[in-house]
């Protein structure tokens, strides 16, 4: 898997547009290092050999209230 580019203000602004989330410029600056740390943790998942493994959460079609 190609390496991610580091978190940047441009990335967060793009993601915020996607999320329809209003972020003031100073909030974006505060979030950049936070997101960098989180993305680093997510990258650890790429070490797992997932192969054809299906997600653990599956659709339950039964009618149970």
């Amino acid at each position: 898997m190609s390496a991610r580019t580091p978190a940047s203000p441009q990335l967060l602004e793009a993601a915020a547009k996607l999320a329809d989330l209003d972020l003031a410029p100073e909030r974006v600056q505060e979030l950049v290092p936070v997101m960098s740390g989180i993305y680093a943790m997510l990258d650890a998942l790429e070490q797992a050999s997932l192969g054809e493994v299906v997600p653990a959460a599956a659709f339950n079609a039964r009618w149970e209230r």
Binding site: M1, S2, L18, V54, P55, F59, A61, R62, W63
Partner: protein, 473 residues
């Protein structure tokens, strides 16, 4: 084709199975006639990717000997069946309609494959599809564009377009398709055949190349509802290899097919089911409802308050999940995808987790509203799609007022409800447009109540002849 062979391929699956069991027809005759039919029509239809000429004849000869020895493997003994090419077949390439899996030869059968073999079916080949099942036209850049046997300038829909075209063209007695967002129902409607999207969890997905894990199903595509019930009986049921399959009891789907429609409560959502349709589709489905009422059913108007969000939820889930599955290939071999599938996979990479999870919550909302509605009705009936077969290669469609719409979201207008809620849905032919192109309706039921759908569809077919007409090829 000789007259005898034409008669043979024109038998229904049920008739063929019965004649094999009574030794009036040999499996060898059925397979020979099917292979000849495939050779005659496939150059025009591109319905098949792989044909098992030698293997099918070998199995047919063995099946014939077994019958002569008084032994039937099962209810499909000696009947030629084909599989969508995303369903694994041991020792035979399974391409998923792709370049990426062009040389994949599975070591094991999919569960559906194994169950059909165990029922005595003879597999004659693998059917073309929209690449990786991610699309609704079956215009496949790697294996050929599938064509509609009713008019080869028109599309067969998809993604199980090869399955739909082959069954309609009498190039197999039944086929397996897969349905995530409509991929059994859409080609069934557009090719004038019957197709069943089962309750999610009723049929194993083990050994089937996934599109969207939480919405994928596999089901039969046949010329009649009776054939559909027979094939479905062979494949339904829990599979320890697929954790999403249910242990809910499997009904005897052949019992009750002749019980009729008296007292059946049919729900319609007037503000959604009959808006935004081409007039021939509107008229055919309304006509079918009138016929069902004449047969004893009663119509019940129902409101589903939040039905209008379903297309967005469907697109979000149906793009995020395949994009997850395809992450490695999309990076290593992006040029090996057709452009339309590549674009959808790229888009799906960029949706947010919150979009995806809200869509999964919307599914619960919609399911709850249908649960409430099913206190007042037994089934819902609606169009399968709002238009009849468009010209091959078109990415836009005009439904009303001359306005062009994007094909993908337009084609999903009515298929989303079963896909999102997990409810079973049976596509049944219910008419033709002025150009002779088929129209199909959906009969949607409660979870694991395929028996009621099949009973309703069989009653409709006993009173109509849409399913008996054949394309002239």
């Amino acid at each position: 084709m000789s007259r005898d062979q034409h008669e043979l391929v024109s038998l229904t699956l049920t008739e063929a199975a019965r004649l094999v069991s009574t030794r009036e027809v040999s499996p060898v005759e059925l397979v020979e006639a099917t292979l000849e039919r495939i050779a005659a029509v496939n150059p025009r239809l591109a319905a098949y990717i792989t044909v098992f000429e030698q293997e099918a004849m070998q199995v047919a000869r063995a099946a014939e000997l077994m019958v002569l020895a008084g032994h039937n493997l099962g209810p499909l003994h000696g009947v030629p069946i084909a599989l969508k090419d995303n369903v694994a077949t041991r020792g035979a390439r399974t391409t998923a309609g792709s370049k990426i899996l062009a040389d994949w030869v599975p070591e094991h059968d999919a569960t559906v494959t194994a169950r059909l073999r165990a029922a005595g079916a003879i597999l004659v080949g693998k059917l073309n599809l929209h690449e990786f099942a991610w699309g609704g036209t079956s215009a496949n850049p790697h294996w050929g564009t599938v064509r509609n046997p009713w008019n080869i300038e028109r599309f067969p829909a998809g993604s199980s377009g090869g399955s739909g075209a082959a069954v309609a063209a009498r190039a197999c007695f039944g086929a397996i398709g897969t349905d995530t967002g409509g991929s059994i129902r859409l080609p069934s409607a557009v090719n004038g055949i019957v197709g069943l999207r089962p309750t999610y969890g009723r049929v194993s997905n083990h050994g089937i190349v996934p599109l969207a894990w939480s919405m994928d199903t596999a089901g039969p595509m046949t010329r009649t509802v009776e054939d559909c019930a027979l094939m479905f009986s062979a494949i339904a049921g829990h599979d320890p290899k697929d954790a999403t399959t249910a242990r809910a009891p499997v009904a005897d789907y052949m019992v009750g097919l002749g019980d009729g429609l008296a007292g059946l409560r049919i729900g319609v959502v007037p503000g959604y089911f009959f808006h935004h349709l081409q007039p021939p589709v509107h008229d055919a489905v309304r006509g079918a409802l009138d016929r069902m009422v004449a047969l004893g059913a009663q119509l019940v108007d129902v409101e589903i308050a939040d039905i209008h969000g379903n297309i967005s939820a469907q697109l979000t889930i149906e793009s995020a999940e395949p994009s997850t599955y395809h992450q490695r290939w999309l990076r290593e071999r992006p040029d090996d995808y057709g452009d339309d599938v590549r674009t959808l996979l790229e888009v799906g990479e960029l949706l947010l987790a919150t979009h995806y999870l809200q869509a999964q919550r919307y599914r619960a909302l919609l399911r709850n509203q249908f649960m409430d509605a099913f206190r007042r009705v037994d089934v819902f009936v609606c169009p399968t799609l709002p238009f009849t077969a468009t010209r091959v290669g078109e990415a836009k469609v005009v439904i009303e007022d001359g306005v062009e719409e994007d094909m993908l979201s337009a084609i999903m207008q009515f298929t989303g409800v079963p896909s999102l809620t997990g409810l079973p849905s049976l596509a049944v032919p219910c008419g033709f447009d002025p150009d002779g192109l088929p129209v199909g309706m959906q009969i949607i039921g409660r979870p694991f109540d395929e028996a009621t759908l099949l009973r309703a569809g069989a009653a409709f077919q006993a009173a109509t002849d849409f399913h008996r007409r054949a394309p002239e090829l």
